[in-house]
């Protein structure tokens, strides 16, 4: 415990000091799953376990071992069938279907006539809205690899929009879970794998989530699956909760003075473009970046919201340096590491990175008209004109917030 507290967690790509030890661990399920096709997994795989000693998950790992063996037996049987029974190209599995992007992907898929299966974690309040739309919901947890294979039976395409919840350790879902999923997909002959990543993730290895995304990209590219990797910048839907609602409710809005610009994009557009890309054979095994029409700083977004709402926001500006400092501090303690991970983007924010790419070529490739992509002005204006009244009604009805004991 003492050692953990004092060690400064090294970044992912450290030379594998503890490799010999890690190999034993990695024997558990990963190797047995990929047994049929040994090939490319090993190269990028080691990085997965380099950090192992710093995290308490070694314990958990051993717990998964018995079930992992069962899992490999199943896949062995499946791979022996050769090409296997044909799967309808309209059957897709959406991972992370309850998320901001995932639900839009599900809606789009259903509307375009796909048969959609949603992989969601077992939860006390089931995601009924997915069933209401006509999707099939299957319970599985990426952090429990033995639950994955059954969900992939009869699936043609996997669309992976999952990411860990903010309150849980970043590696469980985003790294270990994804690796398990990709390996399962490979073993079970999934014919296309769509993975959402983050723009510029290769340039910021100091941010854990971005590094994980980048490593997962590499892992997927090496896995031999037919893939599409889509890098995203930011979601307009997120701005509503962060800025638009507090401004309407005259609560304080927190912003940074970061010069970072982000080209926010409507998740509905992302979902739409995804399916156009999915059907286009020319885009197989490509990496695309989707970004919105214009890049915005936090301050600009707040100003826009103020203008549209017709009232001044109570803005609290937090200097990025404070965020960074907090992150550095929280990294000292093992038990605040998750907090540090959550604040990790402050590293990116402090640089004047622009999260945006010119989309002209992508539009051409996909055959999409640039004017069909929603701009942030249009999106927020829609929100303020449409929702203003409705939201106030809703809030008035339910004043009840969380219960604190």
């Amino acid at each position: 415990m003492a050692s953990r507290c004092t060690t400064f967690p090294p970044p992912f790509f450290t030379p594998s000091r503890q490799r010999s030890r890690q190999c034993e661990v990695s024997l558990s399920w990963t190797r047995s799953l990929s047994g049929a096709h040994e090939s490319p997994l090993s190269s990028s795989h080691a990085l997965h376990f380099t950090n192992r000693a710093n995290y308490s998950q070694v314990k958990h790992r051993s717990r998964y071992m018995p079930s992992a063996i069962r899992c490999s037996a199943q896949t062995a049987a499946a791979t022996n069938l050769g090409p296997g029974t044909p799967v309808r190209s309209t059957s897709i599995l959406v991972v992370g279907a309850t998320g901001t992007l995932g639900r839009q992907v599900v809606r789009r898929a259903l509307d375009e006539g796909y048969d959609v299966r949603c992989l969601v974690r077992p939860r006390p309040a089931p995601a009924d809205f997915l069933r209401d739309w006509g999707a099939t919901v299957v319970n599985a947890d990426l952090s429990k690899p033995e639950t994955i294979p059954a969900t992939l039976v009869g699936v043609h395409t996997v669309i992976d929009c999952a990411t860990g919840r903010p309150e849980e350790p970043i590696r469980t879902v985003d790294w270990e879970g994804k690796i398990a999923l990709i390996q399962c997909a490979k073993a079970m002959g999934i014919q296309k794998y769509v993975f959402y990543s983050i723009h510029n993730c290769d340039q910021h290895p100091e941010v854990p989530l971005m590094e994980i995304k980048h490593c997962t990209e590499k892992f997927l590219q090496d896995s031999g699956l037919t893939y599409i990797i889509i890098r995203l910048c930011g979601f307009m839907q997120g701005l509503i909760g962060q800025y638009a609602v507090p401004i309407l409710e005259e609560k304080s809005v927190w912003g940074t003075d970061a010069p970072t610009r982000i080209a926010y994009m409507d998740t509905q557009d992302i979902a739409r473009l995804t399916f156009i890309a999915l059907r286009n054979e020319k885009i197989n095994n490509k990496l695309m970046t989707f970004s919105g029409p214009r890049a915005w700083t936090t301050q600009e977004v707040i100003t826009l919201c103020e203008r549209l709402a017709g009232q001044d926001a109570n803005v609290t500006t937090v200097p990025v340096s404070v965020l960074r400092l907090t992150r550095q501090l929280t990294r000292f303690f093992q038990w605040t590491n998750d907090v540090a991970d959550r604040l990790a983007f402050s590293e990116v924010l402090s640089s004047d990175t622009v999260f945006s790419v010119p989309m002209g070529e992508t539009y051409n490739q996909l055959g999409v008209d640039a004017k069909d992509i929603v701009t942030l002005e249009k999106y927020l204006q829609d929100y303020f004109t449409n929702i203003l009244k409705k939201l106030k009604d809703l809030k008035a009805q339910s004043k009840q917030t969380d219960i604190f004991f």
């Binding site: 309209t90 998320g99 901001t100 639900r103 809606r107 259903l110 509307d111 375009e112 006539g113 796909y114 809205f129 069933r131 209401d132 739309w133 006509g134 990411t163 903010p166 983050i198 995203l232 979601f235 839907q237 997120g238 509503i240 909760g241 962060q242 609602v245 304080s252 927190w254 940074t256 982000i262 509905q268 739409r272 399916f275 609290t316 500006t317 937090v318 404070v322 965020l323 907090t326 501090l329 605040t336 959550r342 983007f345 990116v348 055959g367 004017k371 069909d372 829609d382 929100y383 929702i387 409705k390 939201l391 809703l394 339910s398 004043k399 009840q400 917030t401 969380d402 219960i403 604190f404």
Partner: protein, 574 residues
């Protein structure tokens, strides 16, 4: 906070564990008679305070927060027992801390968003969603054939757009229920059994019919594709009438009776006339002349019969229409006549103009063909053409006289009769009723039929016959209809290829089920879709190297409503 809220307004479900605490809390609030402070409003926005807190680990910060709260409260005058209650303070400080911490940590992220229930209401179901159709919540759609290839997709699309959906299925097996989304109301019934349909149409505003016979047996085809459409449309009309009666009015979808020929008195006002288009004095001396009568026979039929042997002659039956008080024909779309006879064709003539001055009336005509035996003929107002080409198109509001004219010209011999020598100059027409079909903005009934291409040659005739009969039944029902005749169905994602809308059986390509479902759902609120029948298929794309034309097509997009422009050029009442 929630606990406190419920303490003020105690609910019976909240008894249990926390009740002693609640009681105490309640008592204190009542005793002091001071409203409880709202912790939400106490969020500090002082930049110095959060900076300090941000550096301190969580537990300490909480304590500090609590302390600060206490300090802050001490000097204030409105201090209550509740404010210094350590449990309340702890809870409040925890809440404040959580809020502050959440906001703080959100800053350090790019695209993570928390999912909030109230936001869901707006972003997922509300108008911020590209699928949402205004008014969908108030529209209940009955989907007949919910388990069919198209039906399943139609239901999904309706659910995504927020409609209330009823699904008519024959059996509610687990297998069937699994296909349907959960909040679909499942009704068990069979379109072949009119008695089972009453419950199905209850509360519905619109119907999408995508059921089809699973076999090529004539009985099945007739039952599902023909009789089924009739039964459902009848049940729906009955339901509309019932609703209207409850309101002590007329259903806007009900037909208006212009004339009913049940009794001898009903023949009053009808006037038989004869005339010629041109005067040929010499010829008139030698030909057989003409005669016609309109009478009520002993068998209870109103029969208009006679002969016209004169060249250029005609006989006609005419009546000045007397509409019920308050109704005018401009709220109606056309006429439907239930007649029997020997298969002649007639000309319907409407006189329109100011009722007071008949000399200014203008004449409009439309041809109506009948079959041997009884049939119902639908003649839309839009098919009436002015006799004088310079006159404006027919305005149903001004119509005051209806005439049915027989002339020997352009009569076609009846097909397949045993008496080929029948004289085409004689005629007989038995009247049952004449009604006006109501007009409306939107379609009430969408029928998915078929074009017949893609069926095996042996089956095609049978299937088409049943489908056409079903279409006819729907057209005569008085409901606003849309008949979609897709090409051979393919099970693939929709929205990929340009679609061709056509009238006239010329299509050759297939179409995906999802596109057909999309057309059905889009038609629900599209005024251009009302009373139209059309074929639809993918655009023909030549094979590589065989292109004759350059392809100028684009993908259907969320922004483009392809349906309205495509349908607006097609003809109505088809």
């Amino acid at each position: 906070m929630a606990l406190r809220g419920s303490a003020i307004a105690p609910s019976p479900t909240n008894g249990g564990l926390s009740s002693p605490f609640q009681k105490w809390n309640n008592a204190s609030a009542n005793f002091l008679g001071i409203p409880l402070p709202n912790p939400n409003s106490t969020i500090s926005t002082d930049p110095n305070s959060w900076k300090r807190r941000a550096f301190v680990p969580r537990g300490e910060m909480e304590k500090e927060r609590a302390n600060k709260d206490e300090e802050g409260k001490q000097p204030s005058v409105s201090i209550t027992l509740d404010d210094v209650n350590p449990v309340g303070l702890g809870r409040k400080s925890r809440q404040i801390f959580d809020e502050v911490w959440r906001k703080f940590s959100e800053l350090g992220q790019i695209s993570r968003t928390r999912t909030d229930e109230s936001l869901d209401q707006v972003l997922i179901r509300g108008p911020m969603c590209e699928f949402t159709v205004p008014g969908a919540q108030d529209t209940t759609v009955l989907v007949v054939g919910a388990t069919s290839r198209i039906g399943r997709l139609v239901i999904r699309k309706l659910m995504l757009r927020g409609y209330k959906v009823k699904a008519l299925v024959r059996r509610a097996d687990q297998e069937v229920l699994d296909i349907l989304p959960r909040s679909v109301e499942v009704v068990i019934g069979d379109v072949g059994e009119p008695s089972t349909l009453k419950a199905a149409v209850e509360g519905c505003n619109k119907i999408i019919y995508c059921a089809t016979a699973r076999s090529a047996i004539t009985g099945d085809l007739n039952r599902v594709d023909n009789q089924g459409v009739y039964n459902i449309s009848k049940a729906f009309q009955d339901y509309n009438h019932k609703l209207a009666q409850l309101r002590a009015g007329r259903s806007s979808k009900s037909k208006l009776v212009l004339a009913k020929f049940k009794t001898e008195e009903s023949l009053q006002g009808w006037e038989v006339r004869q005339g010629t288009y041109f005067q040929d004095v010499i010829a008139t001396k030698y030909d057989g002349g003409m005669d016609a009568k309109f009478e009520f026979t002993e068998t209870g039929n109103a029969v208009f019969s006679g002969y016209v042997y004169t060249r250029g002659g005609y006989v006609e039956l005419s009546k000045k229409l007397s509409l019920p008080l308050g109704s005018t024909l401009d709220r109606y779309d056309g006429l439907v006549l239930s007649v029997g006879g020997n298969g002649r064709s007639f000309i319907l003539i409407l006189e329109a103009g100011p009722a007071a001055d008949t000399s200014q009336s203008k004449l409009y005509f439309a041809r109506m063909t009948t079959k041997v035996g009884f049939c119902r003929v639908r003649v839309p107002f839009s098919s009436f053409r002015p006799v004088n080409p310079d006159d404006p198109p027919l305005d149903p509001f001004l119509v005051h006289t209806l005439t049915i004219r027989f002339e020997p010209r352009r009569q076609r011999p009846v097909e397949g009769t045993s008496r080929p020598t029948q004289d085409l100059r004689s005629f007989m027409l038995i009247f049952e009723y004449i009604k006006a079909l109501p007009t409306g903005q939107e379609t009430d009934f969408i029928l998915v039929s078929c074009t017949g291409s893609g069926l095996e040659a042996g089956r095609r005739e049978q299937v088409l016959k049943a489908k056409r009969a079903g279409e006819e039944a729907l057209r005569r029902s008085g409901l606003g209809y849309t008949i979609v005749r897709p090409g051979p169905l393919r099970e693939e994602p929709g929205g990929q290829r340009a679609l061709i809308f056509d009238q006239g059986n010329r299509i050759s390509q297939g179409i995906s089920c999802a596109d057909v479902a999309d057309i059905c759902v889009k038609s629900l609120h599209d005024s251009t879709a009302r009373n139209k029948s059309f074929d639809v298929c993918y655009e023909y794309v030549a094979e590589q190297g065989n292109e004759l034309y350059e392809l100028v097509a684009h993908l259907p997009d969320k922004a483009n409503n392809y349906l309205a422009p495509a349908l607006s050029v097609l003809e109505r009442n088809t």
